[in-house]
């Protein structure tokens, strides 16, 4: 992940606005993938940024803003939805843009991969999404998920192996 700070400005308002501008899209995309519902994801992002605003002074290292926000989001998701999650219809693929702009084969492959990601056990999907959406390093993911670095790297390896398998090309097959 880039080490460039995303927060600029001297006032709390300016710092918050730069934080929103730089990160709200990634935060929403991550929220969407863990909620699988656009309304819940939107609520979750708003709740996350509300918490962020209220405790912006506690963010000591501006370079860690993204990991900080993702951590808040995961906690809010657990607090708000994991306990009493309504049984919502999974809107798999329905809010993905540019659906009709690809060749049919590409579109089909993407849908297969998309479904394969959704089918992953959360132990594997969580670190994978943090790496792909958040661009976090193994150490950062370990901190967010409260795991050790080796466990994270193993889970990332297994997640991609599983995807490769589900996606139709076995990793071992490729190597041989």
């Amino acid at each position: 992940m880039s080490d460039a700070p995303v927060i600029h400005g001297s006032t709390k308002q300016q710092r918050y606005e730069s934080l929103v501008a730089a990160l709200y899209q990634d935060v929403y995309r991550y929220a969407f993938w863990i909620c699988k519902n656009q309304h819940l994801a939107e609520d979750l992002v708003q709740e996350t940024f509300l918490r962020a605003w209220r405790s912006l002074e506690s963010l000591q290292n501006d370079k860690a803003a993204k990991a900080w926000l993702f951590t808040i989001l995961r906690r809010e998701n657990a607090r708000l939805y994991e306990r009493y999650r309504p049984e919502l219809v999974d809107i798999e693929g329905q809010t993905l843009a540019e659906k009709g702009e690809h060749e049919p084969d590409t579109q089909m492959d993407r849908e297969l991969l998309h479904n394969a990601i959704n089918r992953l056990d959360s132990d594997y999907r969580d670190p994978l999404l943090l790496q792909v959406i958040g661009g976090f390093s193994g150490k950062e993911i370990a901190k967010i998920l409260d795991l050790n670095n080796n466990t994270v790297m193993t889970r990332l390896f297994r997640a991609r192996s599983k995807l490769k398998q589900d996606f139709g090309v076995d990793a071992d097959e490729v190597a041989e």
């Binding site: 929103v20 709200y24 992002v45 605003w53 309504p86 049984e87 990793a171 190597a175």
Partner: protein
């Protein structure tokens, strides 16, 4: 580096596998194939996650959070002019202040400590939405442009009375009610399914004769927005298309329904 280790390192981070991995791939076509495959899949994954559409207006809503919070904080910081008690203030003045303080704490706690709907209450909300999807004839009616608004009030009265309610005759004209059907949303509990015109299409109104929920709460899925409103002897559930203003319908029914069990 053997194949197993190579694969492990590539699959752990295909975007940045490290110089050692890249060097091994340059020397061995089989390893290069693994790397290429993994990086292609990574590019596909990036494309998939990036294609999630971020809702329009979300950016502004997030900026509004700061504005609203600042306004609230400013309000709190406004100087309160409080008359200091005179040196001769008696015991009862202090007693009254303490009582007020306790009352304020109690009210604040009540207002802020909202545990939200319980799991069974949420399940009931979900069941209502599921019922709408399940009843294909009602769903078709919901989507029809040419709804027959000629509803028989005699029949509506019967359906409502079976659900334990009576609708005030004075409000019939304004109700825009065009559908009524007895239905079983929750087994063993009598209920009525009505439809009235809303701003974004039909609003489904369910009167269910079951235990009232503890507090009013919202329900929704990717298509519908709804409200579960506790009433005297049961619940009123209103479900409209996403973004529907349900307040008018809520007021219409809460003010004009009478329980006649």
């Amino acid at each position: 580096m053997d194949k197993e280790e190579f694969q492990q390192r590539v699959y752990s981070n295909p975007g940045d596998p490290g110089e050692e991995v890249l060097a091994a791939a340059r020397e061995n076509p089989d390893l290069k194939k693994i790397l290429d495959e993994a990086q292609n899949m990574e590019a596909e994954m990036q494309a998939i996650v990036s294609s999630v559409v971020v809702p329009e207006g979300l950016h502004n809503k997030l900026l509004d959070i700061a504005a609203n919070e600042s306004a609230e904080t400013d309000g709190e910081a406004a100087p309160n002019v409080v008359a200091l008690p005179s040196p001769t203030a008696n015991f009862f003045q202090y007693y009254a202040m303490a009582a007020c303080l306790l009352l304020a704490i109690g009210v604040t706690f009540t207002l802020t400590f909202d545990p939200g709907p319980s799991e069974p209450e949420l399940a009931m909300g979900n069941e209502v939405i599921r019922h709408i999807y399940m009843e294909s004839s009602e769903l078709a009616l919901l989507e029809a442009d040419d709804r027959d608004t000629d509803v028989s009030w005699q029949e509506v009265d019967l359906i409502m009375s079976n659900a334990g309610v009576q609708f005030a005759s004075t409000a019939r004209q304004d109700s825009a009610l065009f559908y009524a059907n007895p239905c079983i949303v929750i087994p063993d509990y009598a209920s009525a399914h009505l439809m009235v015109e809303g701003n974004r299409g039909a609003i489904n109104v369910f009167v269910i004769q079951n235990s009232p929920v503890s507090n009013e709460f919202q329900i929704r899925d990717e298509r519908f927005d709804g409200l579960v409103v506790p009433m005297e002897q049961g619940n009123l559930v209103l479900v409209g298309e996403d973004g529907e203003d349900l307040e008018r319908a809520k007021n219409l029914f809460t003010e004009n329904l009478e329980w006649v069990i």
